[in-house]
Amino acid sequence: MSGPGMDATPVTRVRDLRVRYGTTEVIHGITFDVHRGEILGVIGPAQSGKTSLLRCLNRTLEFTPGGHSEGLIEVDGEDVRRTRDVYALRRKIGMVAPLPVGLPLSIYDNVAFAPRAAGLTRRAALDDLVERCLTQAALWDEVKGRLDSLGTKLSGGQQQRLTIARALSHQPTILCLDEFSIAIDPVTTMRIEDVLKQLKAEMTIVLVTNLTQQARRLADRTMFMLEGSIVELAPSEQVFSATPADQRTFDYVNGTFG
């Protein structure tokens, strides 16, 4: 899959990852790699462990009472579960939630939030960064005249792009999107998909989606999860072909599942 000249070491390694909430195990020992520079699509019905997987990656699982993980997750060779600086780890990972979360701050402050939290205070550097991230997220032209108005006043699609700009502001190694299109219209979805195609040149993207066609359009490889296990992880052409390795993949992708 990796093109010529691409770094062969995986950006993330997951080995025998198990996740429990209290006594209920929701991910039952999964193992996979995320390659550098790819878009990895993650598909699967509700309750298959997709979101929990992302929450392990940036260590926000621990905010859920009873949330507990076992196994190995490495990001850039660093063991996530034993990292010394969890805040620096979280800045390596850009996270976009299903429902857009514009923080109740100005558009500018939304994007400048992470760099400021990391200690960047020079106004000129922040200005550049804010403009670059909003441009990357295809939002700059719409908001450049009103950077000081509230982020929460934007429309849903704009807020989702603001969230993406915010996730880009700390120059993450991996950008994770969790069903980003759930609350926005198809046209905006397509715009964001174009954004993702461009971002792929700069970072690795993990795209959790409930739209199988979205994974087909964007993902280099697609992982099909079901009830906390990986059914199939293969290049998207194969997952969406007439002959995936597993019959359940075919059924899910073609909508005859269950």
Binding site: T60, Y87, R90, L103, L105, S149, L150
Partner: protein, 306 residues
């Protein structure tokens, strides 16, 4: 051949269901506007008692507001100046808020964000208990404990003074600020917290940069209720301020507040007399002060909303 369409079934609500709904709507409307009627009514009756003196020629509004001479029972020359009491009220309230607001907001942040659920439940019960202490009991504490404390610590000439009353008022308004403030913070959606944390913010950065701006209006409401409590409080300040009509030059000077003055003199005046009407005028003045505080806060909230 088309079969004739079946007659549509028409559902009709019984008359009593419709009537009941109308009645409930009317009842809810009454509840909604009752607050307006009550506030208006209270203002009207207080103002009605005060009005004759305002219209009388031997009463000057300027003297009332800007003179410190309060001699309502003088035989030779009756003077009604409440400036000293206005200053007293403002001094005690401001100092009380300077103590209560940081502690209250800090307590609310700790309860809502940093403490374990078990400890939170215990603390909330204790804080609610603090709110249940009657003000006259606070007055006792002021007369005895705080009084002795201030004399020992600061070598104060009188233990009953601005600082004493402010401490009591701070303690009295703390539970209000903490519990309303905590509600305001709890009302901030968790998605904000998660977004902040996912951006690499530490817990404190998340509180400072996300939660406080998001809960700003609720926190302001908490502070305002605290201010309202402090301005309106009577019994504790009557017992703890020292009740001397003078403009304080320091925190350890005794003062008199507007509320305490009304409470202590209302029992002695004959109904309908000049003095009686002046006390009601002080009531109207208190009304005006709280109105101004609320208005200022409202404007502040609106001004910052873009």
């Amino acid at each position: 051949m088309n079969a004739p369409l079946p007659r549509p079934i028409v559902f009709r609500r019984p008359w009593y269901s419709v009537a009941l709904e109308r009645a409930i709507e009317a009842l809810i409307m009454v509840c909604g506007i009752s607050a307006v009627i009550l506030v208006g009514g209270i203002f009207f009756f207080v103002f009605r008692e005060a009005f004759p003196i305002l219209a009388s020629p031997n009463f000057g509004l300027g003297e009332f507001l800007f003179s410190i001479e309060w001699y309502p029972t003088s035989v030779r020359d009756v003077r009604y100046g409440v400036l000293a009491m206005i200053v007293g009220t403002l001094a005690v309230t401001t100092l009380a808020m300077a103590i209560a607001v940081p502690f209250g907001i800090g307590g609310a942040i700790y309860l809502s964000e940093f403490c374990t659920p078990k400890l939170r439940e215990t603390l909330k019960v204790v804080i609610e208990l603090l709110a249940a202490i009657p003000s006259v009991v606070w007055g006792f504490i002021g007369l005895t404990v705080v009084n002795d404390l201030l004399i020992t610590l600061f070598d104060a000439a009188v233990g009953l003074n601005v600082l004493n009353a402010a401490l009591l008022l701070a303690l009295m308004s703390l539970p209000i600020i903490v519990s309303i403030g905590e509600d305001a913070l709890k009302a901030v959606p968790d998605s904000y917290r998660e977004a902040g944390v996912a951006l690499g913010a530490t817990r404190w950065q998340m509180v400072y940069r996300v939660l406080l701006p998001a809960a700003r209006n609720g926190l302001l409401a908490a502070v305002l209720l605290g201010v309202g409590r402090a301005v309106g409080e009577t019994m504790a300040v009557l017992m703890a301020t020292g009740h001397a009509v003078q403009i304080p030059t320091g925190l350890l000077e005794p003062v008199r507040t507007l509320t305490a003055n009304i409470a202590s003199e209302m029992g002695e005046v004959s109904q309908g007399s000049e003095h009686y009407r002046v006390l009601f005028t002080i009531g109207v003045l208190l009304f005006g002060i709280t109105f101004l505080v609320n208005l200022a806060a409202d404007l502040a909230v609106r001004g910052r909303r873009r």
